[in-house]
Amino acid sequence: MNLPIRLQWWLLLCFIAGPLEATTISTEIFCQKYPKSLGCETKQASCNICHTAAPSLNPYGDDISKNLTGNIDVMLLETLDKVEGLDSDADGVKNLDEILNAGAPGNKAVKPEVKVQLTYDPAQAFKRVKSIYCGQTASFDEMNTLKAATDPKALVHAELSKCLDTAYWKNEALQRLADKKVQPLAAVGFGGNVVIADYRYDYRLFSYIMSGDRDARELLSAQYHIDVNGNKVDGVIAREEAAQIGQRIVIGGGQPLAVNRRAGMMTTQWFLAFYTMFSVLPRNTASQVYREYLGMDIAKGEGLMPVANEPKDVDNRKVGQPACAVCHSTLDPLAYSFSTYVGIETVQAFLFNSNGTYRANRSTYEAQGQIMGQPVPDLLAWAEKARNSEAFKKNIAHMMFSQALSREPMAHEKAEFDALWQNLATDAYSVNKMLHRFVDTLAFGGRQP
């Protein structure tokens, strides 16, 4: 293999150089120096401070990299001082001012929090409600009615209530919100050529829980499923299509997992089969729940909470190496609880529909799991910690905020955003109630006076 000389040098440098990339220690150093920075509230500095998507650097990370003269864990403090006076993202605000005032030094779109003057415009809110939650355009008559109303906000809420009960919201908008969590693949789902499981259950369950004033925590606790007619089904569900191996291969379907082992979206047959597949230790499954339901993406270095003496490298993947252990000391303990759940099997699945079922003897380390620094004996306990965490609430609020506005909350919207997830418990974890609060915010209906 002939590599260009420059590439050879670069590869060589990668091997011999000390750690120039960020580690959890780096983020701790950053947060100790700037405890009020965005991302440091929970002592987990967001990778976004320096990265666009790790390992790619944003302009602030790039400036740190250029000024770094040695091991990042040793030289970072000195380097942070050096770049304080720069304006890395060229947005007119110096890095230090951004860090101290809830801005983002490497993101031009996020500037320091300041007092802003916005006026709530019910007409704007109404049009947005119609579009986002009804999938419709507001009509001339509706806008005239709104204009004439003594309490236009009440009309906005009345319309929202109607929208949240429409087929559009429940069968289309909410289902598109589930895509990234479910990650369906027609070829191996119901009706496909090789059927490992039926993801239609996942969509129906997600939509059901996220609508109708239901408790959103059931996303990680439901022990029922929803049939094609929208009815709750308790108990094991047989596959709709008989097992077959011929022109098509059908080894999955229905919901075979024992009811007392279920924890909502994370234990459907599709979820376990698709994400675990043939893994002994289902790291992918655990990290998907962590990312999609708790908002922490380990691949981006988010939510790293290393557990002492981990990873044990139970499947001999050499994850104990320092560069791997940075993430695996969090990820592996997170995945232990999933290790007794079957992913994909072949003959067993064909005969007994075993994909996504529980098998106690599948591993010996199920009880050694940890999530967010807390030990858990099994996946049900794991799910309980997860769904009752602050991260879960924040993730629900973030999901609905970005679904509506297609963007992140801005610095001046932080208080409104925080109120959304902080009130979720008061609202019995109802997403509908949270959306009623949301459409009242200036983030949703505000505009320049």
Binding site: D91, G92, V93, K94, D97, L100, N101, G103, A109, K111, P112, V114, K115, V116, Q117, L118, D121, A123, Q124, K127, R128, K130, S131, I132, C134, G135, Q136, T137, A138, S139, F140, E142, M143, Y168, E172, R176, D179, K180, V182, Q183, P184, L185, A186, G189, A404, L405, S406, R407, M410, H412, E413, G446, R447, Q448, P449
Partner: protein, 229 residues
């Protein structure tokens, strides 16, 4: 082709006029401060120009309002055209008469995603350069269908009923009435006097009733106000 290009050029006049709704510092449903121009994402530019001082540092004293518009994605765009022009879903744009433009051919650039076959698990956060082309196609197709239906319906026309579509040239009042109807149906508001003046001037440059009808519909239906909220 020639007809289409001239239609587009003429329509720009009206688009510019109706786009003023997005430029005014006050009033309108999506006002934007500053320069009033629109960036490639359809967001008004200018809010970031105004700066103040916080804790001795240079900072923005307004929200980044240029990023607060919402993209009206494929479904509300579709239902809005259906309701506004009195069309059914199968009367909207199709590719080669079979594949629906909105649900299939242009789904991604109109803000949707197809997870099952394409493995597209997320939708685009912002419009792309092709969004404008897709919107133009869908709106023009819908308008064309409505004009065709109303021409056939004659006196029973539903939308384009204020002047004969076969007429050589409608009067200014007829044009204003028709434009007002389209503003009601597509933008859910009354047109402003300046907008109607621009439309009348535009209509004076054309000679055929059906072309004026189509141009008005296209210009109003594809204006930024109908794409961003």
């Amino acid at each position: 082709m020639k007809k289409f290009i001239s239609l587009l050029i003429l329509s720009i006049l009206v688009i510019q006029c109706s786009s003023n709704r997005l430029r005014r510092p006050s009033g309108g449903n999506a006002s934007a401060p500053g320069t009033g121009s629109i960036d490639e994402n359809g967001n008004p530019i200018g809010a970031e120009d105004a700066k103040g001082s916080v804790n001795g540092s240079t900072a923005v004293n307004m929200p980044q309002a240029g990023r607060t518009l919402i993209w009206k994605r494929y479904r509300p765009l579709e239902t809005g055209l259906m309701a506004g022009l009195g069309l059914t879903k199968d009367q909207l744009c199709t590719e080669l008469g079979t594949n629906p433009c909105i649900d299939k051919v242009h789904l991604t650039v109109l803000g949707g995603n197809e997870p099952f076959l394409n493995g597209q698990y997320e939708r685009a956060q912002t419009p792309t350069v092709l969004t404008a082309v897709a919107v133009d196609r869908v709106v023009l197709s819908s308008c064309g269908k409505r004009v065709e239906l109303d021409r056939t319906a004659g006196a029973a026309a539903q939308i384009f009923k204020f002047f004969p579509l076969t007429a050589a040239k409608p009067s200014d009042d007829q044009v204003k009435q028709q434009a007002t109807e389209l503003y009601h149906r597509l933008l859910a508001r009354e047109p402003e006097a300046a907008e109607l003046d621009a439309i009348v001037k535009f209509a004076a440059s054309s000679t055929a009733g059906d072309k004026i009808a189509l141009s008005l519909c296209f210009a109003i239906g594809s204006s930024a106000e109908n794409i961003f909220l």
